[in-house]
């Protein structure tokens, strides 16, 4: 049974539009009114007329794009009336400040647009909050049963073991500036590493921001001052920046590292399977837990998830949004 959703949400190549409230969710191009789930560059763009987002997401956008990133902004708190619908923001567990957006029309199905989300404990953000809804919009970045992310602490331990195996070689790990870097640092602290961690310049501002917000990341230094262990944006690993370090062990932290051909293509010695997205067991368990009438799939490996929904007798459709890079790989987007 397909729900009557005409006039409520329309998928477009550049994002999801809600005619009843005349707003867009995570639009790729400047729009008069945008609701933003989280601060990754493939969801949060500059140049909208008005932005509604969590306080943290607004702050992150201001750091990345400057205070002028939008004409007007509003912090999402409680339930907010827009046009003929009510919207509210709830934690998604993906990165600091990331939210799902719940849309409640006066008449019609309740929709939750989850954005990117994760079910793993993450010391740098609030956990995902399951919300009752009729339509659940999910990502499918890792929507294949081959993706079962291992315990991230085990991956941190792998890095520490490599540092013990090769104490004389600097370890440089590729990780994106927003989310992955801070998660990796927090994991290393949890795993007992309490020495200073070196950061590439491009990662410093957002990491300091996390610290200002009270997230304990320990001692962070510019890369050359803590060469034993460095985190850098992935493109820096193949750039002249990396040339100053003698015989480094290059690593890369991403959910894609769980598949060997993907890891090989990165040409790193130390692939670490650390992801801020739901893996297969998590996305399927989430769909079972929320049990919506219908599942909409935004981006990633839709085919796998569609097949699973069919086996479960769960109604599902792909939205074919084009603009979303998955923030775990995004080769052209240094920080997404």
């Amino acid at each position: 049974m397909a729900l009557k959703t005409d006039n409520l949400l329309e998928p477009h190549p550049e994002g999801i539009y809600c005619p009843a409230g005349d707003f867009w969710i995570d639009p790729m191009r400047p729009k008069p009114r945008a609701l933003i789930t989280h601060g990754h560059a493939d969801h949060a763009r500059a140049g909208h007329g008005a932005v509604l987002a969590s306080r943290e997401t607004l702050e992150i956008m201001a750091i990345r794009y400057g205070e002028e990133f939008t004409q007007s902004r509003q912090v999402a708190e409680g339930e907010i009336r827009i046009g003929e619908v009510s919207v509210s923001f709830h934690p998604a567990g993906h990165i600091f400040g990331s939210c799902q957006i719940r849309i409640r029309p006066d008449n019609g199905p309740v929709i939750v647009a989850s954005g990117d989300y994760s079910r793993r404990a993450n010391p740098v953000c609030a956990p995902f909050e399951p919300l009752a809804c009729d339509i659940f919009i999910t990502e499918a970045t890792f929507g294949l049963p081959v993706f079962r992310h291992p315990d991230p602490l085990g991956e941190a331990a792998k890095l520490l073991k490599s540092m013990a195996d090769f104490p004389e070689r600097p370890h440089i790990i590729g990780g994106y500036a927003l989310g992955k870097t801070q998660r990796l640092i927090a994991l290393l602290r949890q795993a007992g590493y309490d020495l200073p961690i070196g950061l590439h310049g491009a990662l410093m501002r957002l990491s300091r921001y996390h610290q200002e917000k009270g997230i304990a990341l320990g001692d962070l230094l510019p890369a050359p001052e803590a060469p034993q262990l460095i985190i850098a944006p992935p493109p820096a690993l193949g750039s002249p920046w990396a040339q100053r370090f003698a015989d480094p062990v290059l690593g890369y932290a991403s959910g894609w590292m769980g598949v060997r051909s993907r890891a090989k293509a990165r040409r790193v010695e130390l692939p670490l399977v650390i992801s801020d997205h739901v893996d297969w067991p998590e996305v399927t368990a989430t769909l079972q837990e929320i049990a919506p009438e219908e599942v909409w799939i935004t981006h990633g490996a839709e085919d796998g998830l569609l097949r699973w929904c069919a086996l479960q007798g769960l109604s599902a459709r792909p939205l074919h949004l084009s603009g979303y890079e998955d923030s775990d790989s995004a080769p052209a987007e240094p920080e997404a």
């Binding site: 015989d247 769980g258 010695e269 699973w308 086996l311």
Partner: protein
């Protein structure tokens, strides 16, 4: 097998030889027997495991995973064993499974694969992957048997030569080996026809040669085949490559009908009626477990003898080369497929230089010099044996693609693909990784970044404008290369910043050398 799986995973991503040695050393040092012995057997290729057919693996996974989800997953992952390892249901709780158990299972007879499935049920992902890679027989960790043995030499008091001396007398899981490596008693060595560590030479050039006295040295041609050791003891007949790997299966024609008892060192070649064939003919015989009669007739194996290491019960290795050579000559003909490598008469280095400049056959790579008084020492001792190779061949090629290097060259574009002109276009002919100084490396890196025309993943295509002078040891025909030729040991001898790309060489220059 947790530590073993972690080692395999790490080795698969480690390109550097030294880093691989460190990882293996650390593994061997802390892993208990017999698991480390089984791991050593896997790394050295010393296990004959039963390989499972892909059909069977597909059947096993079909009992646990939806066929359509499997198909989508397999298409994404691209490797059957890996797809199955990733898809297989996770065990409820972690259990320690010794590598020995996996080896025992794969050595047994389980045609239906049901015991394999039950073991997979107990293993976490990395260990499932290791098990399935063992079961399908393509480990691909990029480690040679010799490198694994070199790692053994690093964990204790024994040298690589000492290890190789006993290696072929040991069988997996090598009881007593690790104890001996760290100072314990010599393990029981049972087998006959063992490998003896091969004596290698160090290079000399025109410049360094005058430092040696010509009267101290015997000279021989350096033949372009593969260096082997042939051992016949108590009915066992074996041929070893210089790495210590046994290659008897490829050369039954050489071993047939031998009456001799002992061990000889020589160059394995293909020869027809006394004429030595080019290296490409020998390649037709290498890397085969069995060889057809037709191949043996078309590419007959021949052994050119260099040295006598063992005669009957007597170990000749401590004797001087002069005596060993005399004893080798006194043996007479061992087989019609063997002859002596001739000793070249020369009075001084100038005379030898003239001989080297004009060798009687194309398959001669230079000359070998052996001190008359040198005992046969495994490894590469400095001084007693010298190789004076003929000058390498060179070609001017154009840089086409570049990829970043690893380790000390991380962040630098140092893996270079070069090409030659053919009908007005540049055709890739090979890759070179070395031959430049650090200063040149930095300049090259700047050039590549500046001249990048396109990118394919980690590979940069550059404007074809830089000429590289590439040195190499030979040219072979190759069906795998688009150009139809493959170079042996190519390296950059000079970067010709001055030379226009249009003046680089034609592909036909290489074809003429075939």
């Amino acid at each position: 097998m947790k530590a073993f799986a972690a080692l395999l995973e790490r080795l698969a991503f480690t390109p550097g030889r030294n880093a691989s040695l460190t990882l293996m050393r650390n593994y061997f040092a802390v892993t208990p027997d017999p698991d480390r012995g089984w791991a050593l057997a896997v790394l050295t290729g010393g296990l004959e495991l039963r390989h499972l057919r892909p059909q069977l693996l597909r059947h096993l996974v079909s009992e646990r995973v939806d066929a359509q989800l499997f198909a989508i997953s397999y298409e994404f992952v691209g490797d059957l064993a890996e797809t199955i390892a990733l898809l297989w249901p996770e065990p409820a709780e972690y259990q320690v499974v010794p590598l020995a158990e996996a080896v025992a299972l794969l050595s047994g007879d389980d045609r239906a694969g049901s015991t394999l499935a039950r073991l997979l049920d107990r293993l976490p992902k990395d260990e499932r992957f290791a098990l399935l890679k063992l079961a399908t027989g393509n480990l691909r960790v990029g480690v040679s048997g010799r490198l694994a043995r070199t790692a053994l030499a690093g964990i204790g008091a024994r040298s690589l030569s000492e290890i190789e001396e006993i290696w072929h007398g040991l069988a997996p899981p090598y009881p007593g080996l690790f104890d001996w490596l760290t100072g314990g008693p010599l393990p029981q060595v049972s087998a006959t026809a063992r490998f003896r560590p091969v004596m290698l030479s160090t290079p000399v050039t025109e410049e360094t040669l005058p430092g040696f006295d010509p009267a101290d040295y015997a000279a021989e041609w350096k033949w372009d085949g593969i260096r082997v050791q042939l051992v016949c003891e108590a009915g066992q007949r074996r041929i070893y490559a210089r790495s210590g790997d046994e290659i008897s299966g490829s050369f039954p024609d050489l071993l047939a009908g031998l009456e001799f008892e002992g061990a000889v060192d020589g160059e394995l070649l293909v020869a027809r009626a006394g004429r030595i064939a080019p290296f490409t003919d020998l390649q037709k015989r290498l890397g085969r477990r069995t060889v057809s009669r037709a191949t043996m007739t078309e590419f007959p194996a021949h052994l050119r003898l260099y040295d006598l290491l063992q005669q009957g019960a007597e170990d000749l290795r401590p004797l001087p080369f002069r005596i060993r050579r005399a004893r080798l000559e006194a043996l007479g003909e061992i087989s019609p497929r063997m002859d002596l490598s001739p000793i070249l008469p020369f009075a001084d280095w100038d005379e030898l230089a003239r001989l080297r400049a004009d060798p009687p056959a194309a398959v001669i790579e230079g000359v070998m010099l052996k001190a008359w008084d040198s005992p046969y020492l495994g490894g590469r001792p400095r001084g007693p044996w010298l190789k004076w190779k003929r000058a390498p061949m060179q070609i001017d090629a154009v840089l086409l693609y570049a990829q970043a290097g690893h380790g000390k060259r991380a962040g630098y574009y140092s893996d270079l693909t070069f090409g030659l002109w053919h009908q007005g276009a540049l055709v890739p002919v090979g890759k070179a990784y070395s031959g430049f100084t650090d200063e040149e490396l930095r300049r090259l890196d700047r050039f590549i970044r500046k001249e990048t025309r396109d990118r394919f993943g980690p590979v940069r295509q550059v404007t074809p404008s830089l000429v590289l002078e590439v040195a190499f040891e030979g040219v072979n025909r190759s069906a795998r290369h688009k150009s139809g030729v493959a170079l042996r040991f190519p390296r950059v001898s000079r970067i010709r910043w001055d030379k226009p790309a249009a003046e680089a060489d034609q592909l036909s220059t290489l074809e003429a050398l075939l």
